[in-house]
């Protein structure tokens, strides 16, 4: 079994898309540098969150504010959307099939939007229990970390909508392909950050 050769992180487009594949080598490396700087940003926010765990100042803490069930559903939504994005990438790489690609991308977009909707619902139910950013250091750190991830997912969804529009107007040209490969990396990366959030913030807070 030969493994496909890898020229850049993420799914490689390979010989079937020679022009876009060549362009990706440089573009994806630059994007990868950006992703790693983003990882440092998230890592430090995780660090701040941990130092602020005890700083509830008499306000509501994790047990009063977090719900295991909705954290679990959000995790499943994001993980599944990562998988469906992978399926979209494969449809692009091997089938060159616009219909199948768009179908998987729409499924991914819907899962992403469901995640954002559920997260917003969580934040509003936290606010109704007195969990607002200005209440305590703990809540400031929480609202610095988790909504920043949600903001990333929102921007990724907007990017996905823009790419769907580009597919409709230009078809599967070089720009669209390189854009899809980079968005794929962002999407999988955001799922990795979410592993940290559900493990540390939700599961760590609720035990």
């Amino acid at each position: 079994m030969t493994t496909p050769t890898s020229r850049y992180p993420g799914l490689n487009l390979g010989k079937g898309h020679a022009e876009a594949d060549n362009a990706c080598e440089e573009l994806v490396f630059g994007f990868w540098v950006f992703m790693m700087s983003d990882l440092i940003l998230f890592g430090l926010l995780f660090g701040i969150y941990v130092t602020m765990l005890g700083a509830t100042a008499g306000g509501p803490g994790p047990h009063e504010l977090f719900e295991m069930k909705s954290a679990f559903i959000e995790t499943m939504l994001l993980l599944t959307s990562s998988f469906t994005f992978g399926m979209a990438s494969l449809a692009l790489k091997y089938r060159h099939d616009k219909g199948r690609l768009v179908a998987w991308l729409v499924v991914t977009l819907l899962l992403g939007l469901a995640f954002i909707a559920l997260e917003l619902h969580d934040f509003s139910s936290m606010a109704s229990k007195g969990g607002v950013p200005s209440r305590s250091g703990f809540l400031s750190a929480f609202f610095g970390l988790v909504p920043l991830h949600g903001l990333h997912v929102t921007v990724a969804c907007l990017w996905l909508v823009a790419l769907l529009a580009q597919i409709a107007i230009y078809g599967l040209d070089k720009g669209v392909k390189t854009g899809l490969i980079r968005l794929g990396i962002l999407w999988h990366f955001l799922d990795i950050v979410w592993i940290g959030i559900f493990s540390l913030v939700y599961l760590g807070g609720l035990t």
Partner: protein, 115 residues
């Protein structure tokens, strides 16, 4: 849309990459379900539970890098792996240092805030 016919080699490669995603998804699901199940219904002590959650999270991060982002230990492309390892080093120094300093400070100045 005309359906492309794939050569045997391409079909092999497609099957391989499809299996990669399915295997990655399966592993990630297991590594998500274990900590959630233990946290919801398990009766482990708090400390053991934290270790299990942390270990599952670390393994799941590696799974995502390997199966979804296709970062491998193969010889053909190393810069992306080096970049991850360097980022991890920076994070260990900065986050580890922050936690060390802050918790040392808490234990000396305000023990009540220690979790």
């Amino acid at each position: 849309m005309t359906k492309r016919t794939l050569s045997a080699e391409q079909e092999n490669e497609r099957q391989y990459e499809l299996r990669t995603y399915i295997l990655g998804y399966g592993l990630a699901l297991i590594l998500t379900l274990i900590p959630f199940a233990l946290a919801a219904w398990g009766s482990l002590s708090r400390m053991t539970l934290w270790w299990v959650i942390g270990a599952c999270a670390l393994v799941q991060i590696v799974v995502h890098f390997r199966f979804f982002l296709h970062v491998t230990l193969a010889k053909n492309k190393r810069e992306d792996l080096q970049l991850i390892l360097f980022t991890a080093l920076i994070l260990i120094i900065m986050v580890g240092g922050t936690l060390w300093i802050m918790f040392n400070l808490y234990s000396r100045m305000m023990p009540s805030i220690m979790p």
